[in-house]
């Protein structure tokens, strides 16, 4: 596909050209970043590490109305998003784009989920390559890279004085045209490739995932998990901020007769997640819940869809208040198995 560029001070101008799109970009409240609809292109900055809340919420909002109805009546009013209403997400990090390709498996599986899929189809993903990976990033260990193109329609590189934009799909091309970007040459493409290589070398953390999906089920009843779960708060930080966690609850809400059925993010770290109506809970303690979070990402999901449900963005590590560190857990899980085998 094409090579484009634009001067750094022309970002607002480029975004202003996207009149056919609803444009999303990182926005800050204090130190907390989150993707928001761009209201003032001049306020957008692409000088950031990563958003605290992942952009999964753009496809799968934390609270989403599925349909509306009136109590006592049988008609429902579906609220499926419109696939023809174009959206562009500008500045998404490659890990978060990769996450969509993983979650696609689930939402396109036994029941193609129109809410998620319509949004995905309507959205053009314009990535921003990482030149300085964060302290707890480990994307190369799980199929990503600081300049990974997976799942993206275009990828922006920050070359210091200008942005180089590599388009990867027709949607990306269309975006570049709409934004009125000028053509770039070989020099920019080379500089971008070099930057990507260098960034890869700067990633500090890693985990060799070979054998982990097969091995984790062997630790199912092991005491191994307790060294982490004993300090787990059972809060929702790790899962809510995970770009691949996709669980939801469905509830009905009414204001008088006006009602809606909505779905909301749910998390396997909450005790009520698996609590049965009878009161029985098959995951009664934090041990089972911690085991489930790790095993789902690194064993159950890969078993079903042949891909690890983790993109190495580091959010669960950065934000855990009690230092439950997924890289540390996975590394120790390998030794736990070996010890078990020896004593058996």
């Amino acid at each position: 596909m094409g090579d484009y560029k634009f001067a750094k001070d022309k970002l607002a101008e480029a975004l202003s050209g996207l009149t056919d799109y609803e444009v999303f970009a990182p926005a800050a409240v204090g130190d907390v970043l989150r993707f928001k609809v761009v209201e003032d292109p001049a306020s957008v900055s692409l000088d950031y590490d990563n958003t605290t809340v992942p952009p999964k919420e753009l496809m799968f909002p934390q609270t989403e109305t599925l349909f509306k109805y009136r109590l006592g009546q049988t008609d429902i009013e579906p609220t499926v998003p419109d696939a023809s209403a174009k959206r562009a997400v500008v500045g998404i990090r490659p890990c978060d784009a990769l996450a969509y390709t993983i979650v696609d498996n689930l939402y396109g599986w036994d029941f193609p989920d129109p809410y998620y899929q319509q949004r995905r189809e309507a959205t053009t993903l314009v990535g921003l390559a990482c030149s300085d990976p964060c302290a707890n990033c480990f994307c190369p260990s799980v199929g990503g890279a600081p300049a990974s193109e997976k799942g993206l329609d275009a990828l922006i590189f920050d070359l210091g004085d200008a942005y180089y934009v590599k388009t990867l799909t027709d949607k990306g091309e269309e975006f570049a045209k709409a934004a009125g970007l000028e053509a770039a040459g070989d020099a920019e493409a080379k500089a971008a490739a070099k930057q990507g290589e260098e960034a890869l070398g700067k990633v500090q953390r890693s985990i060799d995932t070979a054998g982990i999906p097969e091995h984790l089920p062997e630790l199912y009843d092991d005491k191994f998990w307790e060294q982490f779960s004993d300090r787990c708060l059972s809060c929702g930080i790790c899962t809510f901020l995970c770009p691949t966690c996709h669980c939801f609850d469905i509830q009905d809400e009414s204001e008088g007769f006006d009602s809606r059925r909505a779905r909301m993010w749910d998390t396997c770290m909450f005790a009520e997640y698996t609590r049965h109506t009878s009161g029985h809970n098959p995951r009664p303690t934090r041990k089972e819940r911690t085991r489930n979070r790790i095993s789902h990402k690194y064993s159950y999901f890969p078993e079903k869809f042949d891909v690890i449900a983790c993109v190495g963005c580091g959010r669960c590590i950065n934000n855990c208040p009690v230092n439950i560190d997924i890289v540390d857990i996975l590394e120790k899980s390998k030794q736990a198995g070996a010890k078990e085998a020896k004593t058996a």
Binding site: V29, G30, D31, V32, R34, T52, V53, Q62, T63, C134, A135, N136, Q204, R205, D230, R231, C232, L233, S234, C235, G236, I237, F240, L241, D249, Q251, E253, A262, M264, W265, D266, T267, F270, E272, P284, T285, R286, I317, N318, N319, P321, V322, N323, D325, V327, D328
Partner: protein, 327 residues
């Protein structure tokens, strides 16, 4: 500061006791400016324990986090004690839990640690940047020395310590069975300057402030999960049947949650600041708690978590209690 060798020896001795089942303290984390809580069950693990200004977490939070699983027929419940290491601020949680009869005094062994301040991760990151390296720290009356993977940076105590330390009135544990280290001198005081500052805002400014802050909330409930005073087995905000708080996130439900939380902590919050520390979206939760703390102090001359023999504020009545707050 406490001698780590002495601390580990005491922990080893405590864990070796027949009547102790676990010990909660701190250990070095895998990275960054905060230690990790350590929950140990075996004396052989005691050499993991540390105490330095990275030990920010309140171990008293972890007492109630341990699930009480149904005991199989024919077996006796494990009634052995839990040993907890506490700083001065943390110890107030134990006192308040005792006031509320969350457990009996005999159920816990308290290892007290005099403390002159712990690091605020957010301040450290602003000063030195994020780090993936392991961090150690030392503090004296003036400075904090932060050792980031061998690279030592020194900074004024007031620039890096948690806000709670800068107004600390109880540097020495208010309850303890064994004191690890010598008592330290009180070096700060609390004049509620932060609350004064907040109250300068007009109602419109406050509304805008809370609208902006509470709109960020993702309802991960880390604030209530970490709170040592939020130990109800079933919390009213996550209860599904009947449901009192909706699961949907919007400013209305988010505000309802945070206001419920603030009210439930009135006269109970011991200001360890854990709620605000753990918040992934930086909601200044303590602004609500601090306001309640001052109201309670000024109206009822009550301070939670300082006297284990005291009655809980909301369970006590005095005919002289002011009534001005009743509309």
């Amino acid at each position: 500061m406490v001698d780590e060798k002495k601390l580990q020896d005491k922990a080893r001795e405590t864990l070796s006791r027949d009547d102790v089942r676990r010990l909660i303290g701190w250990k070095r984390s895998t990275y960054g400016y905060e230690a990790a809580p350590a929950v140990l069950t075996d004396a052989s693990e005691a050499d993991q324990l540390i105490f330095d200004p990275t030990c920010v977490q309140n171990p008293a939070s972890f007492i109630s986090l341990e699930e009480k699983k149904p005991v199989p027929r024919g077996q006796e419940p494990d009634t052995r004690k839990i040993a907890v290491m506490v700083k001065g601020c943390d110890s107030r949680a134990i006192v308040q839990q005792l006031v509320e009869k969350a457990y009996n005094r005999d159920d816990v062994v308290v290892l007290g640690i005099p403390c002159i301040g712990v690091i605020d991760r957010r301040k450290a990151e602003k000063l030195f940047g994020e780090t993936g390296k392991q961090v150690k720290a030392k503090v004296d009356k003036e400075k904090v020395a932060v050792d980031i993977g061998g690279d030592v940076k020194t900074v004024d105590r007031k620039d890096i310590l948690m806000d709670k330390c800068l107004r600390c009135r109880y540097p020495n544990p208010l309850v303890s069975d064994f004191l690890l280290g010598d008592e330290v001198e009180k070096w700060a005081d609390d004049d509620f300057a932060d609350v004064d500052e907040f109250e300068k805002m007009t109602p419109e400014e406050k509304w805008k402030h809370w609208d902006e802050q509470l709109s960020k909330c993702i309802r991960c409930y880390s604030c209530k999960s970490v709170c040592p005073m939020c130990y109800c087995v079933e919390c009213v905000v996550t209860q599904q049947k009947p449901q009192w708080t909706r699961r949907s996130t919007d400013i209305s439900e988010n505000a309802a949650y945070h206001l419920q939380r603030a009210w439930h902590l009135a006269g109970r919050c011991i200001e360890c600041m854990e709620c605000q520390r753990v918040c992934p979206v930086d909601i200044p939760i303590m602004e609500l708690n601090r306001k309640m703390t001052r109201e309670v102090k000024e109206m009822f001359d009550y301070e939670p978590g300082v006297d284990a023999e005291a009655e809980p504020l909301l369970a006590s009545y005095n005919p002289q209690d002011p009534e001005d707050y009743i509309m």
